[in-house]
Symmetry: C2
Subunit: 119 residues, 2 copies
Protein backbone atom coordinates (compact mmCIF):
# COMPACT_ATOMS: atom_id res chain seq x y z
CA UNK A 1 0.00 0.00 0.00
CA UNK A 2 1.02 3.57 -0.62
CA UNK A 3 0.31 6.42 1.74
CA UNK A 4 -2.88 8.37 1.13
CA UNK A 5 -2.89 12.14 0.94
CA UNK A 6 -6.48 13.09 1.62
CA UNK A 7 -6.45 16.30 -0.43
CA UNK A 8 -4.86 14.62 -3.43
CA UNK A 9 -7.47 11.86 -3.39
CA UNK A 10 -10.39 14.24 -2.81
CA UNK A 11 -9.32 16.18 -5.90
CA UNK A 12 -9.93 13.09 -8.04
CA UNK A 13 -13.72 13.07 -7.87
CA UNK A 14 -16.65 15.40 -7.49
CA UNK A 15 -19.73 13.16 -7.26
CA UNK A 16 -21.74 13.30 -4.06
CA UNK A 17 -22.77 10.24 -2.04
CA UNK A 18 -20.35 7.94 -3.87
CA UNK A 19 -17.69 6.75 -1.43
CA UNK A 20 -14.33 5.89 -3.00
CA UNK A 21 -11.99 3.22 -1.66
CA UNK A 22 -8.55 4.59 -0.78
CA UNK A 23 -7.32 1.73 1.39
CA UNK A 24 -8.14 -1.33 3.40
CA UNK A 25 -7.77 -1.84 7.14
CA UNK A 26 -8.39 -5.39 8.35
CA UNK A 27 -11.98 -6.20 7.27
CA UNK A 28 -12.82 -2.56 6.53
CA UNK A 29 -12.63 -0.23 3.58
CA UNK A 30 -11.07 3.18 4.15
CA UNK A 31 -13.29 5.50 2.13
CA UNK A 32 -13.39 9.13 1.09
CA UNK A 33 -16.70 10.73 0.22
CA UNK A 34 -18.30 14.05 -0.60
CA UNK A 35 -21.76 14.69 0.77
CA UNK A 36 -24.14 17.44 -0.28
CA UNK A 37 -27.84 17.57 0.46
CA UNK A 38 -29.66 14.79 2.31
CA UNK A 39 -29.22 11.06 2.09
CA UNK A 40 -32.11 9.21 3.75
CA UNK A 41 -32.79 7.34 6.96
CA UNK A 42 -31.09 3.95 7.12
CA UNK A 43 -29.13 1.69 9.45
CA UNK A 44 -26.46 -0.97 9.29
CA UNK A 45 -27.77 -3.77 11.46
CA UNK A 46 -24.43 -5.46 12.19
CA UNK A 47 -21.79 -2.85 11.45
CA UNK A 48 -20.52 0.26 13.22
CA UNK A 49 -19.67 3.09 10.81
CA UNK A 50 -16.81 5.57 11.36
CA UNK A 51 -17.38 9.16 10.19
CA UNK A 52 -14.79 11.92 10.35
CA UNK A 53 -15.18 15.36 8.82
CA UNK A 54 -12.20 16.49 6.74
CA UNK A 55 -13.79 19.70 5.50
CA UNK A 56 -17.12 21.40 6.12
CA UNK A 57 -19.92 20.69 8.56
CA UNK A 58 -22.19 17.66 8.69
CA UNK A 59 -25.53 17.30 10.40
CA UNK A 60 -25.87 13.69 11.40
CA UNK A 61 -29.47 13.09 12.35
CA UNK A 62 -30.22 10.24 14.73
CA UNK A 63 -33.78 9.41 15.83
CA UNK A 64 -33.17 10.81 19.33
CA UNK A 65 -30.78 13.70 18.63
CA UNK A 66 -28.89 15.76 16.07
CA UNK A 67 -25.10 15.64 15.98
CA UNK A 68 -23.19 18.42 14.30
CA UNK A 69 -19.76 17.32 13.13
CA UNK A 70 -17.15 19.82 12.05
CA UNK A 71 -13.66 19.53 10.64
CA UNK A 72 -11.51 17.53 13.06
CA UNK A 73 -14.47 15.76 14.66
CA UNK A 74 -15.41 12.11 14.40
CA UNK A 75 -18.31 9.92 15.40
CA UNK A 76 -18.90 6.19 15.26
CA UNK A 77 -22.50 5.33 14.37
CA UNK A 78 -23.25 2.22 16.39
CA UNK A 79 -24.60 -0.84 14.61
CA UNK A 80 -28.38 -0.84 14.42
CA UNK A 81 -28.76 2.92 14.91
CA UNK A 82 -30.83 4.73 12.28
CA UNK A 83 -29.17 7.81 10.89
CA UNK A 84 -29.47 10.37 8.11
CA UNK A 85 -26.54 12.56 7.04
CA UNK A 86 -27.43 16.08 5.92
CA UNK A 87 -24.95 18.50 4.36
CA UNK A 88 -26.23 21.97 3.64
CA UNK A 89 -22.91 22.78 1.98
CA UNK A 90 -20.51 20.19 0.56
CA UNK A 91 -18.72 18.14 3.22
CA UNK A 92 -15.63 15.99 2.74
CA UNK A 93 -15.63 12.82 4.81
CA UNK A 94 -13.29 10.05 5.87
CA UNK A 95 -15.43 6.94 6.38
CA UNK A 96 -14.61 3.43 7.54
CA UNK A 97 -17.05 0.64 6.87
CA UNK A 98 -16.75 -3.09 7.26
CA UNK A 99 -16.55 -4.70 3.83
CA UNK A 100 -19.69 -6.63 4.77
CA UNK A 101 -21.68 -3.40 5.23
CA UNK A 102 -24.07 -2.42 2.47
CA UNK A 103 -23.90 1.20 1.28
CA UNK A 104 -27.30 2.24 2.60
CA UNK A 105 -27.87 -0.62 4.99
CA UNK A 106 -31.46 -1.77 5.34
CA UNK A 107 -32.77 0.59 2.65
CA UNK A 108 -32.14 -0.03 -1.04
CA UNK A 109 -33.21 2.47 -3.68
CA UNK A 110 -31.93 4.18 -6.82
CA UNK A 111 -29.19 5.96 -4.87
CA UNK A 112 -27.79 2.76 -3.37
CA UNK A 113 -24.39 1.67 -4.67
CA UNK A 114 -23.57 -2.03 -4.87
CA UNK A 115 -19.81 -1.46 -5.07
CA UNK A 116 -17.32 1.35 -4.62
CA UNK A 117 -14.73 2.64 -7.07
CA UNK A 118 -11.11 2.45 -5.98
CA UNK A 119 -9.07 5.63 -6.49
Amino acid sequence: MEKVNLQDKLALFSQHWTPKIVGEYNDSYVLLAKFKGELFWHKHEDEDEFFMVIKGKLLLKLRDRDIWLQEGELFVIPKGVEHMPVAEEEVHMLVLDLKSAKHTGNVVNERTLTSYERI
Copy 2:
Protein backbone atom coordinates in the same frame (compact mmCIF):
# COMPACT_ATOMS: atom_id res chain seq x y z
CA MET B 1 -21.21 7.40 22.11
CA GLU B 2 -20.49 11.11 21.95
CA LYS B 3 -18.72 12.80 19.09
CA VAL B 4 -14.96 13.21 19.45
CA ASN B 5 -13.28 16.55 18.87
CA LEU B 6 -9.67 15.64 18.18
CA GLN B 7 -8.18 18.86 19.53
CA ASP B 8 -10.22 18.72 22.75
CA LYS B 9 -9.10 15.15 23.39
CA LEU B 10 -5.46 15.81 22.48
CA ALA B 11 -5.40 18.61 25.06
CA LEU B 12 -6.12 16.08 27.82
CA PHE B 13 -2.75 14.33 27.82
CA SER B 14 0.90 15.01 27.13
CA GLN B 15 2.64 11.64 27.49
CA HIS B 16 4.34 10.23 24.44
CA TRP B 17 3.82 6.68 23.13
CA THR B 18 0.72 6.11 25.27
CA PRO B 19 -2.31 5.75 23.01
CA LYS B 20 -5.63 6.81 24.56
CA ILE B 21 -8.96 5.25 23.66
CA VAL B 22 -11.48 7.79 22.35
CA GLY B 23 -13.93 5.39 20.76
CA GLU B 24 -14.66 1.93 19.45
CA TYR B 25 -15.40 0.91 15.87
CA ASN B 26 -16.46 -2.72 15.44
CA ASP B 27 -13.54 -4.80 16.83
CA SER B 28 -11.16 -1.83 16.86
CA TYR B 29 -10.16 0.87 19.26
CA VAL B 30 -10.08 4.43 17.95
CA LEU B 31 -6.96 5.89 19.57
CA LEU B 32 -5.22 9.23 19.84
CA ALA B 33 -1.50 9.33 20.53
CA LYS B 34 1.43 11.71 20.73
CA PHE B 35 4.75 10.46 19.43
CA LYS B 36 8.15 12.01 20.01
CA GLY B 37 11.48 10.33 19.44
CA GLU B 38 11.79 6.74 18.27
CA LEU B 39 9.76 3.72 19.24
CA PHE B 40 11.45 0.47 18.11
CA TRP B 41 11.06 -2.11 15.40
CA HIS B 42 8.05 -4.35 15.84
CA LYS B 43 5.19 -5.93 13.92
CA HIS B 44 1.63 -7.05 14.50
CA GLU B 45 1.46 -10.52 13.00
CA ASP B 46 -2.31 -10.66 12.47
CA GLU B 47 -3.49 -7.06 12.53
CA ASP B 48 -3.34 -4.13 10.13
CA GLU B 49 -2.73 -0.80 11.86
CA PHE B 50 -4.23 2.52 10.68
CA PHE B 51 -2.07 5.64 11.13
CA MET B 52 -3.18 9.17 10.29
CA VAL B 53 -1.22 12.32 11.11
CA ILE B 54 -3.31 15.04 12.78
CA LYS B 55 -0.39 17.39 13.41
CA GLY B 56 3.30 17.28 12.61
CA LYS B 57 5.39 14.92 10.50
CA LEU B 58 6.06 11.24 11.09
CA LEU B 59 8.82 9.12 9.65
CA LEU B 60 7.48 5.59 9.44
CA LYS B 61 10.40 3.29 8.80
CA LEU B 62 9.71 -0.02 7.09
CA ARG B 63 12.47 -2.53 6.36
CA ASP B 64 12.38 -1.76 2.63
CA ARG B 65 11.54 1.96 2.60
CA ASP B 66 10.88 5.10 4.59
CA ILE B 67 7.44 6.70 4.52
CA TRP B 68 7.02 10.33 5.51
CA LEU B 69 3.52 11.13 6.71
CA GLN B 70 2.35 14.68 7.13
CA GLU B 71 -0.84 16.26 8.40
CA GLY B 72 -3.76 14.96 6.36
CA GLU B 73 -1.97 11.80 5.28
CA LEU B 74 -2.73 8.24 6.32
CA PHE B 75 -1.15 4.83 5.92
CA VAL B 76 -2.27 1.34 6.85
CA ILE B 77 0.63 -0.81 8.06
CA PRO B 78 -0.19 -4.28 6.75
CA LYS B 79 -0.24 -7.18 9.17
CA GLY B 80 3.16 -8.81 9.54
CA VAL B 81 5.15 -5.80 8.33
CA GLU B 82 7.92 -4.60 10.63
CA HIS B 83 7.86 -0.89 11.29
CA MET B 84 9.40 1.77 13.50
CA PRO B 85 7.79 5.20 13.97
CA VAL B 86 10.20 8.11 14.39
CA ALA B 87 9.12 11.63 15.31
CA GLU B 88 11.83 14.25 15.35
CA GLU B 89 9.29 16.75 16.66
CA GLU B 90 6.07 15.84 18.45
CA VAL B 91 3.44 14.31 16.20
CA HIS B 92 -0.26 13.89 16.95
CA MET B 93 -1.77 10.71 15.56
CA LEU B 94 -5.13 9.10 14.98
CA VAL B 95 -4.62 5.33 15.21
CA LEU B 96 -6.96 2.40 14.74
CA ASP B 97 -5.96 -0.98 16.09
CA LEU B 98 -7.92 -4.18 16.45
CA LYS B 99 -8.62 -4.81 20.12
CA SER B 100 -6.72 -8.07 19.75
CA ALA B 101 -3.53 -6.23 18.73
CA LYS B 102 -0.81 -5.86 21.34
CA HIS B 103 0.68 -2.39 21.77
CA THR B 104 4.13 -3.25 20.43
CA GLY B 105 3.24 -6.49 18.72
CA ASN B 106 5.94 -9.14 18.76
CA VAL B 107 8.28 -7.11 20.98
CA VAL B 108 7.63 -6.62 24.68
CA ASN B 109 9.81 -4.39 26.80
CA GLU B 110 9.58 -1.69 29.47
CA ARG B 111 7.83 0.67 27.06
CA THR B 112 5.08 -1.80 26.19
CA LEU B 113 1.61 -0.99 27.51
CA THR B 114 -0.76 -3.80 28.42
CA SER B 115 -3.85 -1.61 28.32
CA TYR B 116 -4.87 1.88 27.20
CA GLU B 117 -6.50 4.62 29.21
CA ARG B 118 -9.89 5.85 28.01
CA ILE B 119 -10.27 9.62 27.75
